[in-house]
């Protein structure tokens, strides 16, 4: 057994390459038992890759890596959990056909038989899932899935807990609950390393922060030191927001592009949207806000025809499209940039964009002059150099650019963005919001569904706030007070 004084993680010159790309480059890091360390960095900085090495899911190409006293440079899948390392994935990986308790049970099998039941009970209780333990994992919502992910990790009784972007997609009281959960886990004597974009989480929790950029360690220090370091501010937060980039040069108005009247929708017995109405004019940006479970994503799906409309109607360019199939709405010019991007990972960037075109003629035209793709490349010049890369290999921010580009390639009249900024660094979010404003300036109407409340309100012409499937506010962002916002998110009345 390892002595108590031995560090739980020792990384010396850890490097990982994929083909010709170096994702993690010569990283040194020591973590002592009982610490709570945060790792930050912009998208594509190599955080997730570094985490996968520490979790034993991949092996380093070079360097030394010892975790929990074991050599992790030659380790098989499934071993890390037995050595005391538990990883909660950014995207939950539930076993959907098993119950919540069975999901957690499986993790406990790494423990001696006599400790299993207690470990599972404890994990369920700490993560607040005791009341849901006989539900099917496939029926859980996002927050519950994140809790399940953590419960499974806890049931391993690990020495080292790795949390990969567990706060992504959460806000308001959900976020606070999650922070409290991580704090409880740490207080129970576990060493925790977390990768996070949500600044608040790092600030509230971490004792020490490591900043990665382009796969190398830029610096490490206390949260205060890191957030005051000018290098970090520049690479991570971007220079002060360029106000003019978010300025609207066209004042929206004129014809109505998208109109919804009294829309209700849901899944099975559950009613998710109740009597929702909205209207978007040409070149207008409508921001849809609301806490998790308020029905934002369901609204996007209902607009796009992926969820059946129960009552009410959807009008597009003066035409009733309530019963029109998804692909046909897309062709008429109602585009969706879905949550999680849904790119074709095996195809190149160019091929992904090409699939978004209305016709092949548009693609051939790129060799001449006029093409919808030219607009995409002018909006995101970076995509030109990424053209021949596989979409699945890109960083989160780059993938989101491709997803936006693919939707724009169809020359839509209305474009819906579902969770545009999810899991992305602030600098990338700013870049994407600038693009959204540019798209609206071209005269395309925008429906922007966002977690990033303040930034999304800054670019909005109108906002719509949902609470448990009902519209609680609809109007200009300036008329919507901070108080009302709190009420919609935190549920206080």
């Amino acid at each position: 057994m390892s002595q108590p004084s031995e560090p739980i993680l020792v990384a010396e010159g850890v490097t990982r390459t994929f083909g010709g790309v170096t994702a993690v480059n010569n990283v040194d890091l020591i973590v002592n038992p009982g610490e709570l360390v945060g790792i930050m960095g912009p998208n594509g900085a190599g955080k997730s890759t570094f985490f996968s090495l520490v979790a034993g899911a991949r092996k380093p190409s070079a360097g030394k890596l010892r975790v929990c006293g074991k050599d992790f440079t030659k380790i098989g899948l499934g071993d890390a959990a037995r050595f005391g390392v538990g990883l909660a994935h950014q995207i939950p990986k539930p076993f959907k056909k098993l119950t919540v308790r069975q999901n957690v049970d499986i993790a406990s099998y790494v423990l001696p038989r006599s400790q299993r039941k207690a470990a599972v009970d404890y994990a369920l209780e700490v993560s607040g899932l005791t009341g849901r333990q006989s539900k099917m994992a496939g029926d859980l919502g996002l927050l519950e899935l994140k809790r399940l992910e953590i419960a499974r990790v806890l049931a391993l009784d690990p020495k080292l807990v790795l949390l990969d972007e567990v706060a992504a997609g959460l806000s308001g009281s959900d976020l606070d609950e999650l922070i409290e959960l991580v704090r409880t886990v740490h207080a129970s004597g576990k060493t925790v390393i977390l990768v996070e974009h949500v600044q608040e989480v790092i600030h509230k929790l971490a004792e020490r922060v490591v900043v990665l950029e382009w796969g190398t360690k830029l610096m490490e220090g206390t949260p205060a030191q890191v957030s005051n370091d000018p290098r970090v501010v520049e690479i991570y937060l971007g220079s002060a927001q360029n106000e003019s980039a978010l300025k609207r040069d066209v004042h929206p108005g004129g014809e109505t592009r998208l109109k919804v009247e009294g829309l209700s929708a849901g899944y099975g017995p559950v009613k998710v949207l109740d009597n929702v109405s909205l209207e978007v004019k040409k070149g207008e940006i409508l921001t849809v806000l609301g806490a998790n479970g308020a029905g934002k994503t369901t609204l996007a799906k209902a607009l796009e025809g992926m969820v059946k409309t129960r009552t009410g109607s959807v009008w597009f360019n003066g035409e009733d499209i309530t019963d029109v199939a998804t692909f046909a709405r897309q062709r008429r010019g109602l585009a969706l940039v879905p949550e999680g991007r849904r790119l074709f990972g095996e195809l190149t960037v160019r091929e992904n964009l090409r699939l978004g075109l209305k016709s092949e003629r548009g693609f051939k035209a790129t060799h001449k002059d006029q093409s919808p793709l030219d607009k995409v490349y002018s909006l995101f010049p970076k995509l030109v150099e990424l053209n021949d890369r596989q979409a699945g290999q890109l960083s989160g921010g780059e993938q989101q650019m491709v997803a936006v580009g693919r939707a724009l390639a169809g020359e839509p009249d209305v474009i819906i963005f579902d969770e545009l900024s999810l899991g992305l660094a602030p600098i990338v979010v700013d870049r994407l919001l600038e693009a959204v404003v540019q798209i609206a300036n071209w005269g395309t109407s925008v429906v922007l569904i966002e977690q990033n409340i303040h930034k999304a309100m800054a670019v909005a012409d109108k906002i719509l706030v949902l609470k448990r499937g009902e519209v609680v506010f609809s109007g200009k962002p300036t008329d919507f007070s901070e108080e009302e916002l709190q009420r919609a998110y935190l549920g206080a009345s």
Partner: protein, 324 residues
């Protein structure tokens, strides 16, 4: 009220399953003599089809590994029975057990390389092995190559005994599969199917989990092959190492419900009677089966079991809503 009934069923689910299986099997076993020979033969065929589907479902349904190599186990089980009886002259039942064990060992041998493959690659890999085994057998003089291999006299039992073999085998299959599926190993198996990466990160090792499952599937399929050999009386490579066994098992499970306990039973009954009664339409028989398969896959992708449980849940939900 409904909730209490469900709670009761959940609590006694395992004893209930085992108890029912044992009682039904005992009744079938003891009433063997009251059936005529045609019925005994028909039920033997049906039970063997069920055993085949149950064994395949372990790997293909619960494990999500679409094996097209299960014909190898049928072939090994049947030919091993015939060869041991002929050359060593052992008693019938120990011979059949040894044949099943040989098939289980073959299962381990095949699974070890196959488990490095996933999805369609595993299906094609196992198909390749089945084709290779067929090719080997059709040329192997030791088992009379492409000529028929007659079972020796010791294997000639009456229809009632044959039917009892099939009944006992089916009972063993049910009990061992329920035990495995409800055990930690069974949970790990489903976890690997639902999300391999998620399973690995909580300590589930793929090969270690899947090897015993393939071994059990091979054991049961091999035993089915042994009883099948007794039923047939004469073995041919075409009749035993035939890909059709893997396809039948897969079709039965898809129609009944993949990865469910009752799916293979329902599927086997449907396919068995469909074939029995459509046989008189000759060329149209295959067409009818194909149409049934397409309809099920299109409209009830979770199989007949999925359809039933969906309807059941709808009723319970309506009751609960009415109570509110």
């Amino acid at each position: 009220m409904i909730r209490q009934i469900f709670g009761f069923i959940a609590k006694f689910r395992d004893p209930f399953t085992y108890g029912t299986a044992v009682v039904v099997a005992a009744v079938l076993y003891l009433t063997a003599s009251s059936l005529d020979r045609g019925q005994q033969n028909d039920l033997t065929s049906l039970f063997l089809l069920m055993t085949l589907a149950l064994a395949w479902n372990l790997v293909g349904g619960y494990g999500g590994q679409f094996s097209l190599g299960h014909s190898i186990f049928v072939g090994v089980g049947s030919y091993a029975t015939a060869v041991i009886l002929t050359l060593l002259g052992w008693p019938l039942i120990p011979t059949m057990i040894i044949a099943a064990v040989m098939s289980a060992l073959i299962g381990l041998l095949l699974a070890y390389p196959l488990l490095r493959l996933r999805g369609p690659y595993l299906a094609v890999g196992s198909l390749g092995m089945a084709v290779a085994a067929y090719g080997w057998m059709i040329n192997w003089d030791f088992t009379k190559a492409s000529q028929a291999y007659a079972m020796p006299k010791e294997a000639q039992v009456d229809f009632a005994t044959m039917y009892q073999f099939a009944t006992v085998l089916l009972l063993i299959a049910i009990v061992s599969i329920v035990a495995l599926v409800r055990s930690p190993l069974g949970l790990r198996l489903v976890a690997l199917r639902d999300n391999e990466l998620g399973a690995a990160s909580i300590g589930v090792k793929r090969v270690r989990t899947l090897l015993p499952v393939w071994a059990l599937s091979g054991l049961l399929t091999g035993a089915m092959g042994a009883v099948y050999a007794v039923q047939q009386g004469t073995l041919t490579v075409d009749g035993t190492f035939n890909i059709q066994f893997s396809l039948d098992a897969a079709i039965i499970c898809v129609i009944g419900g993949l990865g469910t306990l009752s799916g293979p039973f329902i599927g086997a009954i449907i396919i068995y009677f469909l074939r029995k009664y459509s046989a008189e339409y000759q060329n149209y028989a295959l067409l009818i089966e194909a149409v049934v398969l397409v309809i099920v896959v299109r409209f009830f992708p979770a199989g007949i079991v999925g359809l039933i449980s969906k309807g059941f849940r709808a009723i319970v939900h309506r009751r609960a809503a009415a109570q509110k």
